[in-house]
Subunit: 157 residues, 2 copies
Amino acid sequence: MKRTSLAGDSCPVARALDVFGDWWSLLIIRDASLGRRRFGEFQASLGLAKNILATRLRTLVERGILKTVPASDGSAYQEYVLTPKGHGIFPILVALRQWTEEFDEHPDEIATIMVDRDKGKPVKKLALLSQDGRVLGAADTTLKLRPARKAARRVSA
Amino acid sequence: MKRTSLAGDSCPVARALDVFGDWWSLLIIRDASLGRRRFGEFQASLGLAKNILATRLRTLVERGILKTVPASDGSAYQEYVLTPKGHGIFPILVALRQWTEEFDEHPDEIATIMVDRDKGKPVKKLALLSQDGRVLGAADTTLKLRPARKAARRVSA
DNA sequence: GCATCGGGTTTAATATTGCAACCACACAAG
DNA sequence: CTTGTGTGGTTGCAATATTAAACCCGATGC
């Protein structure tokens, strides 16, 4: 079955999904961005099998999303923290959150809202802006071929 | 294996992933937002097995992301188009795209850039703003419990 | 009416997930 | 120093999902 890899795809969406598009990775990253760092914390929070957590953490480290730091509090164990590349995923988490807030069938089951830490007020919706500041919807955008210096493998959009 | 469902989770990120967080759904949605509508178009573009495409399309329809429209051009076949709920996923696709643009190891393999349809200029990066217009990073936000009218099932973040 | 195409379903092989049991090490107590 | 316990995994096996390939069937096409 071989879980067809998207790594060589030329579509940036596919490339991102290839890195953390599986069932658990984004949840691990979410937890990490909430400050969880220890194997046990992730396991307790997510309720996933330990072997799966172990492999997910390993591949996220390999891919530069997480890094292990040798200690933190006294004990000589290691912890997992986000790299800059991992922190860069934050907008994606926000986008997912906001989609649920807007479209979920049972919004009453959503436990938390994201607020501005200073003021404690809800954040605004992510908006896509053009260079001159207009708000863009999907229909207002197009894809253009990159000036491209090297060939890319697959040519889907 | 049973692919533990996240449907009852109280975290909005998990709830979103429960709907379209599997290996193919987001790519199908991406294709749909690029205007692909026919089974064969998706299959050719994604190169996935037809049975999987069939089940994915079916569940995406069930979940209100896609709907089938009876025709379009002459033939009496059906097509798949995004619902408003499906169009709402667009910012997530943009976020994924921008993450790859910023952090991918081989940016030269990225084929396309997203531009403003009017001016043809690249769009700006998605920004998270506070009510008073400041740009917020992950560290500038917190989660707050919702005023909550009904209980939610699990209490992870 | 015969072939072909689009749009799937069925089948069998293979890979991944999940659970539970097991293991190794660190640290603490006796 | 020997036992005990918690953390952080690894290993095996059964359950399930993915995949490719073969098959199906109603619409077109000719």
